[in-house]
Symmetry: C2
């Protein structure tokens, strides 16, 4: 199946916003078995959108567009696509009512311009938008629903050229704001795809997320063992980020579930202790879940990570049940005052040392009474390094009822990557203890 | 000028990584006057890359590809493009030497596979890569350098069809890792573009970044006043994110600098106090710069922002000169113990209250001796709201030698957006005081 994604918006072409739709939709679609073959972004001018939609219609079985469904003058996707497919637009009373209610519930009057969002091309399926005003629209481009070509006349879809029963083509328009697009995709688009463009024999995909093992080591451990399954149709993929490697197992057809299941067994046998989660799991989410289940608490003492570990943990709803405090003790005086690090330890070993990491963890555990206390101290760079302790050096410690453990790591990366990797290593250190 | 960007990589199509190149390159190119007209991503299979490069060659004056220059079997962009353009590859001794040195300086032996990165298509310009092994490559696609078509024979470039002097077409290949691509673009690609594809009459672009004013209010204040300049060729754009609006002024031609200058004067007159920076400035970077210049210090007491403000500040190199500590006092006991909030204030007003925000800021200022102490306490959601204090309610306070100020904000967004907007408001509160 040929799947194409079209992102529209002049702000994309000017680089003013990051195209998060591309990753999000590609990921969701791939995990459902509809791997995107081409993604295109163009400005929201009529000419550009028309060109890329026409090109996609000549190639793809499924086309998803994002953006251009709003009420302003540069929102023209709905109108353009209706014209391209020769479909009339009619106002949908239920959508008008939804938009009216949307504004009424916010105690705002409904601007007349928003009414354009209630226009629906004939034959289109309306995808409800509980988080905004513009609904999504899904249209089957049927055998006899050819589209207008650049130079005027209507051409029939290529699927009519041969005489065998043609596969339906689908064109789905989604609104631009992520908080509207994402729930709409999960709630409305997924069931629609599975109904109108079912994959023969189904499709199974499983992502196992690992931490603390490099891509090449992971490959060494599982590559050979998975070869017989790959020969039978298992698709194996690695995605490495600094500090983390995802292993993706996928297969289609009747034996798909069996192949993925056997593959997962092998990966779990070989990499078990490194696997912290599946699919969308994040390490911080796993930590919050494990601590919540055990009714245990956590406190942090962060120096070089600068609050990034607390930030990750507090991104998880319910974090307040487990996180008591994070003391971001950037200055030495703060390490002494809040984390109760001794002046002589700082003087003897320096702020970036195992001794200070241990005292930070033990100090914040004592002060907060948390079940677990995690600390990090290191040199994020770009300055501040020395021959003995180069930029990237970091010490981390974990204090709990069973004592304190400490490790040294070396993360010679740019500042933000350093903070991110260091946080991942610290959280993984805690996860291993929680799982042991 | 028609500029196209081609991002290659199967991990993009599977949604395993975010395509940050798209925003970064589009932004840089737009600000130089080379607005990208189309961005395409495809998997790194030969067929897909060949198709999109061929299509782009038929339309664009400048094509930039990213990825596929590394040493592994799926890095095929160099080879494919050389074949497409009918250019032989030869090994470049200087690149081999660079790669050897790269490994030697890391005390690693040079794998033989990396030698492929020293292959250069005939006539190509080598763009040095001080941060990695694969150099970038820039090639002029000349009048007589037609490219091989899908079905075999060589076709001449469309520019040869008419007899007027043809514009040169350029194809530039950049490596995938951002830490290699970005410096290479700034150091090598920008001067090359300005030399080989100069914009007639130049191009001037200026981004003014504002905070605390909505897009529609900004438009009301400057839209009418800028109209005469727009009629003369000034290009005005807005880019709104929650809490921030960027105003982009651009113009080309002889009067470009004058138009942008006059536009900037008007924007500064109307929105002056809201403008925190220009182009790539971030609010946290401005704060670190202002405090460093004044040799002043900052401490934070963060509740609902969960360390995100400290995280933003510590992303800035040199933050350690100004940030003493951030006390992420998530639990009430932590607010009492570390930020010295009184138990009766918590009991009387609740943790999410102006009184607690004030005590947090004053407490952390006293405890750390910082010149400025900023605090936030609120309800990030999704749970924890009430009729009186719904999800999104937040109080922030700023304590300094001139007393304590506090404000209430309402940010009813998802958890991460809430933290981000709240942090921006708190940092802007501090910036206003620093600028006053």
């Amino acid at each position: 199946m040929n799947v194409e994604l079209i992102n529209t918006g002049s702000e994309l072409m000017l680089g003013r916003v990051l195209n998060t739709h591309q990753q999000w939709l590609c990921r969701r679609l791939a995990d459902l078995g509809y791997v995107v073959t081409r993604q295109v972004a163009v400005a929201d001018t009529g000419r550009d959108i028309e060109t890329v939609v026409r090109e996609a219609l000549s190639r793809a079985d499924l086309i998803i567009t994002t953006g251009g469904l709003g009420p302003t003058s540069d929102d023209i996707t709905r109108q353009l696509i209706a014209e391209l497919l020769g479909k009339k637009l009619h106002e949908d009373a239920a959508i008008v009512q939804h938009i009216e209610q949307f504004f009424a519930s916010r105690k705002r009057s409904m601007p007349h311009s928003t009414r354009v969002q209630a226009l629906v091309p004939e034959g289109a399926i309306v995808l409800g938008n509980p988080h905004g005003t513009a609904p999504g629209l899904a249209m089957e481009v049927t055998e006899d629903g050819g589209w207008r070509m650049e130079d005027g006349p209507t051409r029939r879809s290529p699927s009519t050229i041969n005489s065998q029963p043609s596969t339906p083509k689908w064109l789905i328009m989604l609104p631009g704001p992520p908080r509207e697009l994402r729930p709409m995709f999960d709630t409305s688009v997924v069931p629609l795809l599975q109904r109108v463009l079912p994959l023969s024999g189904g499709y199974i995909c499983r992502n196992l997320r690992t931490c603390g093992v490099g891509e090449s080591v992971a490959e060494e451990k599982i590559g050979e063992l998975l070869k017989p399954l790959i020969a039978q149709g298992l698709d194996l993929g690695y995605c490495a980020r600094v500090g983390q490697v995802d292993i993706r197992l996928a297969a289609s057809g009747e034996r798909g579930a069996e192949l993925v299941g056997q593959g997962e067994t092998i990966v779990r046998e070989q990499l078990g202790k490194h696997i912290f989660g599946e699919n969308d799991d994040e390490l911080e989410g796993v930590i919050v879940r494990l601590l919540t289940e055990r009714k245990q608490t956590l406190a942090l003492a962060e120096s070089c990570s600068g609050g990034s570990i607390a930030n990750r943990i507090t991104n998880i709803p319910g974090a307040s049940a487990v996180l008591l405090a994070s003391l971001v003790t950037y200055a030495n005086e703060a390490k002494q005052k809040f984390a109760r690090v001794r002046a002589e330890t700082l003087a003897t070993h320096g702020a970036v040392s195992e001794a200070v990491a241990r005292e930070m963890a033990e100090g914040v555990q004592r002060e907060t009474g948390a079940d677990y206390a995690l600390s990090v101290t290191g040199i994020a760079g770009p300055g501040g390094g020395s021959d003995v302790k180069p930029v990237g050096t970091v010490f981390m410690a974990l204090a709990s009822a069973s004592g304190t453990v400490a490790v040294k790591q070396f993360n010679p990366f740019d500042r933000e990557t350093f903070k991110n990797v260091t946080g991942t290593q610290a959280l993984e250190m805690l996860r291993r203890v929680l799982m042991s």
